[in-house]
């Protein structure tokens, strides 16, 4: 699946966007052996030490999830806060486990640490080509394979509502609607919600937990003042 690959934006717009994820090779033909879930728990515990923006379990969700009230007073209650613990405690099956970082230092240090841990899991970095190259260089590892994104065909760099497309494509499964992203931009422009609140509202729709709230806040701030 290409859920982290095709994020809309220029290379510069990924300056604060590093997704480092691990996964086991599931096909029997690959013949991979060992306890993938235990290794992935270790991967995620280590990632948490480097203060990621989000941790995401593709089967269970990320650090911010939708809530369910059982009382009418829930309507006036406070919203939930990001929780690493919910992700770490909820891991019950090996799959795609991701850590989202918003700065180069943390991403590079984590990649180096994961290399030293030698867990045996496949690890990928989804970001700008340059960002990933820098992470590999810092860790002293040659890149094994690359999946280039050729971008959305016939969608240029300056489409109308491009910030809404940038926000929406941060959920590569398409769970975050462009209309909702546009609504959140409008709410921020009208000062009805802060960029932080709007980013959190959008993040709850990303079922893999790979939505980058730091990048979202920056995009919302730019949209607020009409940056094109």
């Amino acid at each position: 699946m290409t859920n982290t690959l095709h994020r809309y934006g220029t290379a510069e717009s990924f300056v604060d966007d590093y997704i480092v994820f691990s996964l086991p090779a599931k096909s029997k033909a690959a013949g991979q052996k060992g306890d993938a879930l235990a290794a992935q728990k270790r991967f995620m515990e280590l990632a948490a030490e480097y203060k990621p923006v989000s941790l995401g379990d593709a089967l269970k969700g990320g650090v911010l999830r939708p809530t369910k009230s059982t009382s009418i007073f829930g309507h006036w209650g406070k919203r939930n806060k990001p929780s690493f613990k919910a992700v770490l405690d909820g891991m019950t099956k090996a799959g795609t486990m991701a850590a989202v970082f918003d700065n180069r230092a943390a991403a590079e240090a984590f990649v180096k640490r994961i290399k030293d841990e030698d867990l045996g899991l496949s690890v990928n970095i989804s970001s700008s080509i340059e960002n990933a190259k820098n992470c590999c260089k810092a860790a002293g590892i040659p890149r094994h394979s690359i999946a280039y994104s050729l971008g959305f065909e016939q969608v240029g760099d300056n489409v109308p509502s491009k910030q809404a497309v940038m926000l929406s494509t941060m959920c590569g499964h398409g769970m975050l609607s462009i209309n909702f992203a546009q609504k959140m931009i409008s709410f921020v422009r009208e000062n009805r919600r802060s960029p932080d609140e709007a980013a959190h509202a959008m993040s709850r729709f990303c079922s893999c937990g790979i939505f980058n709230t730091t990048r979202a806040r920056r995009i919302l701030e730019e949209a607020r003042i009409g940056v094109k």
């Binding site: 090779a25 599931k26 033909a29 203060k51 030293d116 496949s122 989804s126 590892i141 609607s177």
Partner: protein, 285 residues
């Protein structure tokens, strides 16, 4: 998916969160309504909206009263205030919509959640794409448009005519009745999904030819195409073969998924002692 009309208060929140824009407030019914032909059963409304249990009759009364004063009842934008969404029992062929649209539902054929396979993400273990080969992922439907299986068939037929072989574990491949022609089973051709991926592998020498075929087909189908190109790096970790071909075709390569080659046939046994590592560097967050 269905919306329970006894619970819906027509607040309109769900009309924004539907990725397909398939939910609207029916002016006669005064309830949120789903255009079932456009709905791809992604469950974004059901899974993504937080749920509250406000009493519907009271909320409707409050809404009507406030509206008289030009004041609006406004729940949080990512909330359904009355938990009005209820999943339908899906049957064939509609059930394929959910399999390709809700990322939490694994395909029975592959056991993998999502719309494609592991591609080059596990290439360090599987060796699926070797030196001199290119793995294409051709995704239709994103962002926010969706695609019908007849669109996928248009693409798969064109690729099959060029003599390429499809990745056999890919969910779209499993729905083909004939992989030599690219034909997809006829009973699902009108079914709409959020997106799905056709996967093929060809020699590097065919890279440009394949992209030109895709360009040709995308002119004929009413959806959006996004291409991923998976390649193996050389021993130094460089990739200087395919990137120049893509740049020559006008692509500005920016983003990629980079497999950093840490996968092994044997996952480390964590009951044994951890490798010695340097103390964690201090990082800012």
């Amino acid at each position: 998916m269905r919306i329970n009309p006894k619970k819906c208060v027509a607040c309109g929140n769900c009309t924004y969160v539907c990725p397909m824009g398939a939910i609207y407030i029916d002016p006669l019914l005064q309830r949120a309504t789903i255009n079932r032909d456009e709905c791809v059963e992604c469950y974004s409304c059901y899974n993504g909206l937080s749920k509250e249990v406000l009493p519907p009759a009271t909320v409707r009364f409050v809404r009507r009263t406030l509206a008289n004063f030009r004041v609006r009842f406004e729940p949080e934008p990512d909330v359904c205030p009355t938990t009005a969404f209820e999943p339908d029992e899906l049957t064939w062929p509609r059930v394929v919509r959910r399999a390709f649209s809700d990322p939490r539902v694994p395909h029975e054929s592959t056991g993998v959640s999502g719309r494609g396979t592991e591609e080059v993400k596990t290439n360090d273990v599987t060796g699926r794409v070797g030196i001199g080969e290119v793995g294409f992922t051709i995704e239709l439907g994103r962002p926010g448009i969706g695609a019908r299986f007849r669109d996928f068939q248009e693409m798969s037929r064109a690729l099959a005519a060029a003599g390429v072989s499809f990745e056999k574990n890919n969910p779209i491949s499993t729905l083909m009745t004939d992989t030599t022609t690219g034909d997809i089973r006829s009973d699902i051709l009108n079914e709409k999904v959020m997106s799905a991926i056709i996967e093929i592998k060809v020699p590097v020498s065919r890279t440009e030819e394949i992209i030109r075929i895709i360009w040709e087909v995308e002119k004929r189908i009413p959806t959006q195409v996004v291409i991923g190109v998976g390649v193996r790096c050389d021993e130094e970790g460089e990739e200087t073969v395919v990137a120049p071909i893509l740049e020559k075709l006008g692509y500005n390569l920016r983003r990629a998924k980079t497999n950093i080659g840490l996968g092994r046939k044997e996952i480390r046994d964590l009951t044994k002692s951890a490798p010695q590592t340097e103390k964690k560097e201090l990082v800012h967050a």
